[in-house]
């Protein structure tokens, strides 16, 4: 199992607080020592930092903790390998072009029989993980259905959720997907999310001794949603997703989805 983290926000926001909690799981409070990556969007552009080393020992992860890159859409992943060797080409997130935008994907879980069932012809995987192949398959399914970007974006993401339902038939498929504008998450068994907005309060990380007072870091109009494998803070109410649930965010706001789950503190 791996750890996923994503953020959608209506103003460029740094993810230092949440990322600090996440990297602890990469070898300190969690066993995920097989690499990590993080993608920040800035407009249509994005940049990915990744390392096949444990995040708690990574020079590059230290940079990200110190250096508050601000973004409206962020995807991060720390890895505990179960399919594919520990190397850079197997390190999430994966990024590909579709309709002139960068699409970024990260996966938590494990699929079976994927090499037989997920056939691709153009969007070929570079590494040999189930995750990257699932992403390539998803992109080809999307392009087949929509050669051009559809105007109705909700219809598009509902179609992506249907494809994800098929992937879930092959095993555990928790996914984060973004085109920089929208951030989507899809759950099989481990995903929670929270939307923070005024009035902002104080939160404490579960994984390390760090507290943030969001009211000091934000303006009253900020809306920030955070998605993670497990809740990152101990004193806030997260939405715990159930199998087949998915949620779509834009500019921090949940805009569509299927949520059967319960709130958890």
């Amino acid at each position: 199992m791996c750890e996923l983290l994503a953020m959608s926000a209506n103003v460029p926001t740094d993810i230092v607080f949440s990322f600090t909690g996440l990297v602890e799981r990469g070898g300190v409070t969690g066993p995920h020592t097989d690499g990590w990556g993080i993608t920040f969007y800035e407009g249509k552009g994005c940049r990915t930092f990744k390392d096949p080393q444990a995040s708690c020992q990574s020079e590059v992860a230290n940079l990200i903790k110190r250096y508050p890159i601000k973004s409206c859409s962020v995807i991060s992943h720390i890895r505990q390998a179960n399919r594919g060797a520990v190397n850079l080409e197997n390190t999430h997130p994966f990024c590909r072009q579709l309709w002139g935008r960068n699409w970024t994907f990260a996966h938590n879980g494990q699929l079976s029989g994927y090499k037989q069932k997920l056939k691709v012809s153009q969007d070929l995987p570079i590494g040999n993980t189930d995750s990257e192949l699932a992403f390539c398959w998803l992109l080809e399914r999307i392009k087949e259905k929509y050669p051009k970007r559809p105007n109705n974006i909700k219809t598009l993401f509902r179609y992506i959720a249907k494809c994800a339902d098929e992937l879930r038939q092959l095993g555990v498929f928790n996914m984060i997907l973004s085109d920089g504008d929208y951030v989507m998450c899809y759950c099989t068994n481990n995903l929670s999310w929270i939307t923070r907005q005024a009035p902002f309060g104080v939160a404490k990380l579960i994984d390390t001794d760090m507290v943030v007072d969001f009211s000091e870091e934000t303006t009253p109009n900020d809306v920030v949603s955070v998605i993670a494998t497990r809740p990152l803070t101990s004193d806030e109410t997260w939405n715990k997703m159930q199998a087949g649930d998915w949620q779509l965010f834009r500019l921090g706001v949940p805009v569509d989805g299927r949520l059967l789950g319960n709130k958890v503190s």
Copy 2:
């Protein structure tokens, strides 16, 4: 004009020395203040660090100067914008998948009439530079000719050089291209390269007060080629390329090409 830098080596080699010279040109000894990027291959995987800020002021560039990431294939670029706004999506190098490998591209120069002449259907640009469009066009031309990776790699790169000849008709087209295994450079007016091998000597950077004794940094079997817009060192003999020249490297060794130019010290 921008500055290009690339390396091909037979053992993972750090590029700290050459990169240190390059970043000085990003706002100190050169006017290239509109962003920079660098791609390191590790096997089939690669990672790109980029920033739309001047390299001499960039936190991330400082990390790269301190942190010797070792690689057999590296491409770097610092930008002085002439086509397309200064933002992340317009920052080189650009990376796309072809035949299950990461292909990385950086361009120095300026093209005219490119929007009319370079038509693409699938590999769409994300930003709005002439460079990224030229890369997309090149990829589509390659895929059209070779739906699968050809066995004869020299034939492939000779075809790429022919496509580059066409791009050169549109203006200045100095290019670095790599699939991680091979590194190719194509010249219109400003590219030089050097191959370093035993016996290794001492070299001094032109752009900053830094000297390296390669014999202390290498083993006798190392072969390292470096390509740059202008020679980076003052006391070595670089091969200066001429219009239409191209050179292909693998594991540090020049393996094919067309070189009409003269040696310069």
